[in-house]
């Protein structure tokens, strides 16, 4: 085996100490009829062969295209200090800080993560991480049901389709109901959550609502009337869950400001590589009043017996290893190292740097909008956006495919993820971030102009 420290003599010594002649004897408890004989898998690679094989596989992926693809995962500049600090073995190869005396590094960084995300979201309590934005959102929806003892949530179609589907999967198990709030079809508010429909859905006295879930920016990149959505939710006795993108919170109104009860989102934009979908970081935050219902680990500040400041996992009675079937969730291993990435990234950029990332993305996106419009590819909606928006292009899928051949990844053909929505049939979702260049925008606009004119 590849990473064994044992010599044949070591093994012989251990067998002799146990008093058996061979390792086979140690497996005597496996009934004869249930034994298998070996594994039909390839022979081992030497490390040199392995690196060659992996390099060849990695090179079969295409990451050289000029990309305008976002849709829930975003390309950003990651300062090298993030990975250098992350790779400290003492963070990387430790586990859950069950022994706080020798885990203060992990515990303090988690406390700092909680504090940084609390600042960004404007909320009080942040769990020490969930798997990704989708599962954090599903857990937020479940929290609203537990907190209100109601069994129905309303989820705006402004929320990422993968997140909505994940809520459905989680809710099916628990026999809870999630209904979709439609988007406004046309006019200046087109593409944002339909407030009149929301009001009607909340008025169903037969079936009171536990929580209302909406996203800002929305999946389509639009800024949503979050304060109004929250007001309607609260008036009906429901909790309000805001799905957020963390970089945007450096400039956009926070869930705390528009009185959301819970915020959920994906922390990937905070220094975490795209890596084909994970590992990412589920952010889950709530108001202080909900602290005993939030799932996931929490770290608190305390002192040791000498009075020295220290950090420890706390309010553990919510968790599966203590409460078992009555726990607030089954979550155990989470995404601690990704939370550390997010913290180092935010600290490396600082408040002004993070604001610059968000504002520069917005500036590049405005340039992209203008260039695409001039090329005959206008926006699909007219409401304000930050750095992502949908454009209309006849035969969007065909245009997208032809641009690929020209080395341009023209965002996401929305019909791929929302096949049932006629409003999105001929639309591309495109985004710009601080790494998008003027030359890339010009190349994209030039090429798509030619394709749509064909």
């Amino acid at each position: 085996m590849a990473y064994s420290p044992h010599t044949p003599e070591d093994r012989a010594r251990m067998l002799a100490a146990i008093g058996v002649a061979s390792v086979d004897e140690l497996f005597a408890d496996i009934p004869e009829s249930l034994r298998s004989s070996g594994l039909s898998l390839p022979a081992p690679d030497s490390e040199a062969e392995l690196t060659h094989r992996l390099q060849a596989l990695a090179q079969r992926n295409r990451v050289d295209l000029v990309s305008f693809l976002g849709a829930g995962a975003y390309r950003h500049f990651i300062p090298p200090v993030v990975d250098q600090m992350l790779l400290r073995s003492e963070f990387y190869t430790a586990y859950t800080p069950y022994q706080p005396e020798i885990s203060q590094g992990t515990l303090q960084t988690i406390y700092e993560y909680q504090s940084l995300m609390a600042e960004l979201t404007g909320l009080d309590v942040v769990s020490a991480s969930h798997y990704d934005g989708a599962t954090a959102t599903a857990e937020a929806a479940l929290m609203t049901c537990r907190a209100t003892s109601r069994d129905r949530v309303l989820v705006s179609r402004s929320v990422h389709p993968h997140y909505r589907q994940t809520i459905c999967t989680y809710f099916a198990g628990a026999s809870l109901v999630s209904d979709e709030i439609p988007l406004v079809a046309d006019g200046p508010a087109a593409g944002t959550t339909d407030l009149a429909a929301l009001e009607r859905m909340l008025a169903d006295a037969e079936h009171p609502v536990a929580g209302v879930v909406a996203a800002n920016p929305s999946f389509l990149g639009l800024l949503e009337p979050m304060a109004e959505i929250g007001r309607l939710a609260h008036a009906a006795g429901a909790l309000f869950v805001s799905v957020v993108e963390p970089v945007s919170l450096a400039v956009l109104a926070t869930p705390g400001e528009y009185r959301a009860d819970i915020a959920a989102g994906d922390g990937q934009p905070l220094g975490i590589p795209l890596a084909y979908g994970g590992p990412y970081l589920g952010i889950l935050a709530c108001r202080e009043a909900l602290v005993r219902g939030i799932p996931g680990r929490l770290v608190g500040m305390t002192t040791d017996i000498d009075g020295k400041r220290a950090f420890v996992m706390t309010l553990r009675a919510r968790e599966q290893d203590i409460r078992r079937e009555k726990a607030s969730s089954n979550i155990c291993t989470n995404q601690a190292l990704c939370a550390l990435s997010a913290s180092i990234y935010v600290a490396a950029l600082g408040p002004h740097g993070l604001r610059d990332v968000a504002a520069l993305g917005a500036a590049r996106a405005a340039e992209l909008e203008a260039a695409l419009a001039a090329a005959g590819v206008p926006r699909l909606h007219s409401g304000p956006y930050l750095n992502e928006f949908a454009v209309r292009a006849d035969d969007a899928a065909g245009v997208h495919a032809r641009l690929l051949e020209r080395g341009i990844l023209a965002g996401l053909p929305l019909a791929r993820v929302e096949p049932g929505d006629p409003a999105l049939r001929d639309a591309l979702l495109v985004c710009a971030t601080e790494v998008t260049t003027a030359a890339e925008i010009a190349a994209f606009a030039g090429a798509i102009g030619e394709e749509v004119a064909r």
Binding site: S4, E90, Y98, T106, T166, P273, D304, I305, A347, A362
Partner: protein
């Protein structure tokens, strides 16, 4: 004793000075946000710390030195399989072709990763004796939820709506009953037999038309192979229920026992245990789930498919109507799965068998030594871990397992898992793994032996332990009664705890 001085333990917020940091990204034009109505904008900037890079590096390097980790020492944390994490895996996950790939690119741009995922699914299916595997679940607990949701879908697809219970032995990980609850089932807890194994008669008595599934950890959480498994699985299937295997302890049995072949219908695998991906202070991991024939239609979407021309693609939305749906965004913790793939390739089939053999050998070797001075409740060969108990020691000296564990810290070791499983009094669950040298195993045993001797001669030394760690025993009561879960000094709303 850490080389880090206390002054280096300031929080990020205490290190902050206005005007420090910067230079990472270009400045945007002044009017970058002017097109956005002010009602959508944040009223006041976020009160985040301002720190120069040199200070930032010192902050994190010093904090890291307060941690114990596999790369610094022996970490026999039972049930967690803290084996060595190969460095080539880290190199692989960072290759730009893997790390830079967006999850929503068209399939033709992702052929390398899709091939890797497809091959990894096949390898895990072979190891588990399962028909197919989904790599989507982000962790073992999410794998459990995925598996139990498939069980639910299976029964409902047959029009069987009466199956509302999941049977779980009392020795199970807490995630098992918590998962059953999340999936809408009632947990029925079954006591273990005196020999530490499943009590088949008790299971038989509880099985019936209301049983949806049993969840069994095998090898069990006391580190024993469930020798009455065959009988149990027969009874489960006779009752029309399904059998879930918690694969947390897969490191013991690769090549010796394949759960799918033995009759389990579904299992999860923790790649951060058996397949060497780093534990990261609490994740990320990944929790692939293997299924047999019955649950195949219900696997979460999207699956990775191989076309007849040898290319790979993801299922399209709605392509397989029987699926339980998505359990997360995108396709999985791919970066973690690259590492698991590299590990499996580095070992090959024969190497993985040796991994299990050596893990079991090391655990039995340690058990034979530890039995000389602590209770070892189950007098059988163990699998990859074993449970010891300080029950007798406590009766004789008053010293508890907790005190032994804290004193181990003074000797430079991470303690084993303690007070789990719940079925053994004063339990220490010790898992050496296959990557620790015999010298390391011997030195740990000698430390534990000395500590047990100290318990008789100088118990106060243990009660007050650890003496030499970065901090000593903590005030957990105040932490829970007056929770301080975030720094507030920078917004001025609350003064921080004094040093």
């Amino acid at each position: 004793m850490s080389a880090t001085h206390d002054r280096e333990r300031q929080t990020l917020f205490e290190r902050s000075r206005p005007g420090r940091g910067g230079g990472k990204v270009p400045h945007p034009p002044k009017d970058a946000l002017s097109r956005i109505p002010s009602t959508y904008l944040r009223a006041a900037g976020a009160a985040l710390p301002e720190i120069s890079e040199p200070e930032l590096v010192r902050h994190y390097v010093n904090l890291s030195q307060l941690n114990y980790a596999i790369d610094t020492g022996f970490y026999p944390l039972g049930s967690c399989t803290m084996k060595y994490n190969p460095k080539v895996n880290e190199w692989a996950a960072r290759l730009p072709g893997f790390a830079g790939l967006h999850p929503l690119v068209p399939d033709e741009l992702a052929q390398g990763t899709l091939q890797l995922l497809w091959e990894l699914e096949s390898a895990l299916a072979e190891i588990g004796g399962m028909k197919a595997v989904t790599l989507q679940p982000a962790a073992g607990a999410q794998g459990e939820l995925t598996g139990i949701l498939m069980v639910r879908a299976y029964h409902l697809s047959r029009g069987d709506t009466e199956r509302t219970e999941v049977l779980v032995p009392d020795s199970a990980h807490g995630t098992n009953p918590a998962t059953a609850s999340m999936a809408g089932f009632r947990t029925v807890t079954i006591p273990s037999a005196p020999d530490g194994g499943v009590d088949v008669a008790a299971f038989r008595a509880a099985l019936g038309p209301h049983t949806a599934a049993i969840m069994i950890t095998n090898p069990s959480t006391v580190g024993l192979f469930e020798s009455r498994l065959h009988e149990l699985l027969e009874a489960v299937h006779e009752a029309g229920a399904l059998a879930y295997m918690d694969g947390a302890n897969l490191n013991a049995i690769m090549g010796r026992f394949k759960p799918g072949e033995a009759g389990f219908d579904v299992m999860h695998i923790n790649v951060h245990k058996t397949f060497s991906t780093p534990h990261g202070g609490g994740g990320p991991g990944a929790g692939p789930v293997g299924v047999g024939e019955k649950l195949l239609p219900f696997l979460p979407s999207p699956r990775v498919l191989r076309e007849s021309d040898g290319s790979f693609r993801l299922e399209t939305p709605g392509e397989r109507r029987t699926s339980i749906g998505r359990v997360r965004a995108f396709v999985g913790n791919t970066g973690v799965l690259v590492r698991a793939y590299a590990y499996i390739r580095a070992n090959g089939g024969c190497g993985l068998c040796e991994v299990s053999d050596d893990a079991v050998l090391a655990a039995n070797y340690m058990k034979s030594q530890v039995a000389e001075f602590l209770d070892v409740p189950f007098d059988r060969h163990c699998m990859h871990e074993f449970v010891a108990s300080a029950a007798t020691l406590k009766a004789e000296t008053g010293v508890r397992t907790l005190d032994l564990a804290k004193r181990l810290i003074d000797y430079g070791y991470h303690p084993p898992t303690i007070y789990f499983p719940l079925t053994v009094e004063e339990a220490l669950l010790i898992e050496p793994t296959e990557t620790e040298s015999v010298e390391t195993l011997d030195a740990f045993v000698e430390a534990l032996r000395k500590i047990v001797a100290e318990a008789h001669t100088d118990p106060d030394l243990l009660y007050a332990a650890p003496h030499d760690s970065p901090v000593r025993r903590l005030d957990e009561t105040t932490a829970a009664r007056q929770p301080n879960l975030r720094w507030r000094a920078m917004t001025g709303s609350q003064t921080p705890c004094p040093d």
